[in-house]
Symmetry: C2
Subunit: 477 residues, 2 copies
């Protein structure tokens, strides 16, 4: 293969997708034709496209196959899935999104699932396990050796979002009293090193972590030197399995790590965390944040059935309906005021809406700063003062403008003044709630992000209606 | 240093932050005391805390110092910034967020900035350049050698969000006709290898990329073998500087890369992309998405002045005000209807609100699938059908429930029927717009995400009011 042909660029996966779609379409066409002509062309042309498709799939990276499967409607997806060689099932199942994985696993029988699971490492198996039927896990567990069982048990015992759930068990350890030459000879005995091996873990005979030998130090130092002379003098960044995964991810980002040892309470090396796992985690976390901000429980298979989509979305709609009903009842309190001055009905959504937008700005910023660990309880007063300042400014400027508009539209300067005051008060409410809600949740040890947007919007809706209609009832009627 | 002391866990940066705050507080206290007692304690205690603080900072990783600076209010931040050794200024400026970087650069004079800039590599300098005064860049440029100038020019010439803007120039290249032994000896001449070197780029004498020699192959093969025998037979994943950064990031995630060569149109190696840059890019992108969904232009320094915050947030508020005014004018059209049946005023925000929520769910899902490259134009009809199905289901179920509530509250089954129909129609509107808007934007080659949430909310607000009040006017009055 020449260098020319070897190049592989990031657009290739799109081309693969199109090629698969093309071949599927041709295959369908031939099948249709065969059906009409009573199988006249069967045998030759029929299988041609299938073979071509199979060859294409064989040459593709498992992650690319996963991408293609996600992009295909259910019927095509299962068709392609059946063409994939069975021994690759495991790695592909690992790569696809949860929703698509479910749709694939549903079509596999226990033996296929068992074969797929057995092709995986313990840490990968642990990732897949929640989606597998219990009897398959039981069978696979039986087939593991003692070390594998121990690792699988360990990997499955740590809660999601901990380092323990992300770590793998592939690592190379060396002793500190040997020379680099010995290490080099030891490595040459490997067929291949574990992925993402950028450092070897230096341990004593009881597996206690003594230090780190980076490949870079191994390669740039005299082979006659001993490991202990070469191993880094900088502090070793290591994790325990109970560490929060997002803290670990921040450490990987901050210190540009490729891999790091995971140790137990006695500093024995028990596993390893790699940047590949961390990148997946970061992507998943931020996807989760974006999805849940929009009220989706999880990543949706875009070709999911109507019913699956409804299930994924109903919780958020139900919550929002409750808050909408509350807001509606607040308006109900002032129906007689609205009857006497119908302009209120047209203006009230503005007060509520702008308050909600402004509150979401504040709370998003505070929640993010808390998640980064950059906000202390002591900063609350300072943040409150600043946000109230912003709210007051916006209230006077935007509220003043809207008050002017109300005056102009309805010819009442009193209505304008009520509009401006209500805007300002609702913005102040939004600002203080935007600071206080997440800070309180943090103090109570709860996740400050959870439902923050719904809460603040609900408050500024009901609050905005109440303030505006209340002021109007007091001063205009 | 014993292994015990060397351990470094991800919580350390939080402890550093608290230690800095503690020392600052003590320093302030002593200063206050000194001031009251006319400098009696000056000289001894006064400097004690400062020295301690300086020692603490000296032992900290630049990324940790950046973290601490971001978490401190402006006054404390600048105080600590002045204690940091000048030669570390450059790397720290690279690590802090844009908003905080601005606040630091403002206080530095041109000579300090020049010194800081000169401590950086060309690709790092290019990242910092947009924030530096032109005369500083000019000076730094003059001080570079020809190669450095060339690299700086190249790095600055690529638009943001391309591979060219992310790449660095630190790489190790080897020839294919030498033995691994020669490569090993060559590497030993380096003091250190570039960060994230997991592979060497195999090039011919004109720097054309011939293949890849992973350190893992280098270490596990017989040193007598030639590079050409050992270099990977799998396709080389490489990028050109014009490649979209987010495509490259997806490729890094998909293929678990640590580094990859960047080549020009003639396949000459011109630079390198590393997972560290990619991780930063992924984080930045998803942060940007979350921030802009909430209407923040950029990451905000939480201790920014009121005025800076106002500037960061006003554009979104202004757009939302325009859409709110439009919705208000739609209501204005039906004022006489509301006067005759005031229940409409209380019920209309429910129709608009639930429509907005549901539309945001749809559009978020479609936009994400488009961004992943998994949606073809041809899928539009299928997606539309599915989303309309979900909308119809929700309209009948939730709309039916709300219609029942309206009937019960206001004793009119006709009002209930209008409520149910309006909910269903608005949900259908939300679903079709949620599919069509991003698909249309994709067809026009525009970013489907941009402003999608504002657009759909505006449509479902005004649309919801119009549908509900319109139906009520037709059938109830």
């Amino acid at each position: 293969m020449s260098a020319e042909e070897q190049q592989h660029s990031p657009d290739d996966v799109q081309q693969h997708l199109r090629a698969v779609q093309e071949l599927l379409a041709r295959h369908r066409l031939v099948e249709e034709l065969a059906h009409r002509q009573q199988d006249a062309v069967e045998g030759t042309m029929h299988h041609e496209h299938l073979n071509e498709l199979q060859d294409l799939l064989e040459g593709m990276h498992p992650a690319d196959i996963a991408f293609v499967l996600e992009a295909l409607p259910l019927e095509d997806r299962l068709f392609v899935w059946n063409l994939v060689k069975a021994e690759r099932d495991g790695e592909i199942l690992l790569e696809v999104s949860d929703a698509v994985r479910e749709s694939l696993i549903e079509t596999m029988d226990p033996d296929e699932l068992k074969a797929a699971a057995e092709s995986l490492d313990a840490d990968e198996l642990a990732d897949l396990a929640p989606d597998l039927p219990p009897e398959v896990i039981q069978d696979v567990y039986q087939s593991l050796d003692t070390e594998g069982r121990e690792q699988l048990r360990a990997a499955m015992s740590y809660p999601e979002d901990t380092v323990g759930a992300l770590m793998d068990f592939d690592m190379v350890t060396v002793r500190e009293d040997v020379t680099l030459e010995v290490v080099l000879r030891y490595l040459r005995r490997f067929d291949e090193l574990p992925d993402h091996t950028d450092k070897l873990f230096v341990v004593d005979r009881d597996d206690h972590l003594r230090g780190i030998l980076t490949l870079q130090n191994l390669l740039t130092h005299d082979p006659e030197m001993e490991v202990s002379e070469v191993m880094g003098t900088e502090p070793v960044i290591s994790f325990v399995p109970e560490d929060d995964a997002s803290d670990a991810a921040q450490a990987f980002e901050r210190y540009d790590l490729v891999s790091a040892p995971v140790i137990d309470s006695e500093k024995r090396v028990i596993g390893r965390l790699t940047v590949a796992d961390v990148v997946d985690y970061i992507r998943e976390e931020s996807d989760q944040e974006i999805l849940s901000n929009a009220g989706l429980r999880e990543e949706e298979d875009i070709f999911a059935s109507v019913w699956d989509s409804v299930k994924n979305r109903w919780a958020w709609l139900a919550i929002n309906m409750v808050t909408a009903i509350i807001a509606s009842r607040v308006i109900g309190l002032f129906e007689s005021s609205i009857e006497r001055l119908v302009a209120l009905a047209a203006l009230m959504p503005i007060v509520a809406g702008i308050g909600g937008n402004s509150g979401n700005q504040t709370i998003t910023m505070i929640v993010r700063a808390i998640a980064m660990g950059q906000v202390e309880q002591s900063a609350m007063r300072r943040l409150l003062r600043k946000e109230m300042g912003v709210a007051l400014f916006n209230g006077v400027v935007w509220g003043g403008f809207l008050g002017g508009m109300a005056w102009w539209l309805y010819g009442s300067w009193q209505l304008g003044a009520v509009m401006t005051s209500a805007m300002t008060l609702n913005l102040l409410l939004a600002a203080s709630a935007g600071v206080i809600i997440p800070m309180m949740r943090m103090r109570m040890g709860k996740d400050p992000a959870l439902g923050s947007s719904v809460m603040i919007t609900s408050l500024t809706d009901s609050g905005g209606f109440f303030i505006f209609l209340g002021l109007a009832t007091l001063f205009l009627l």
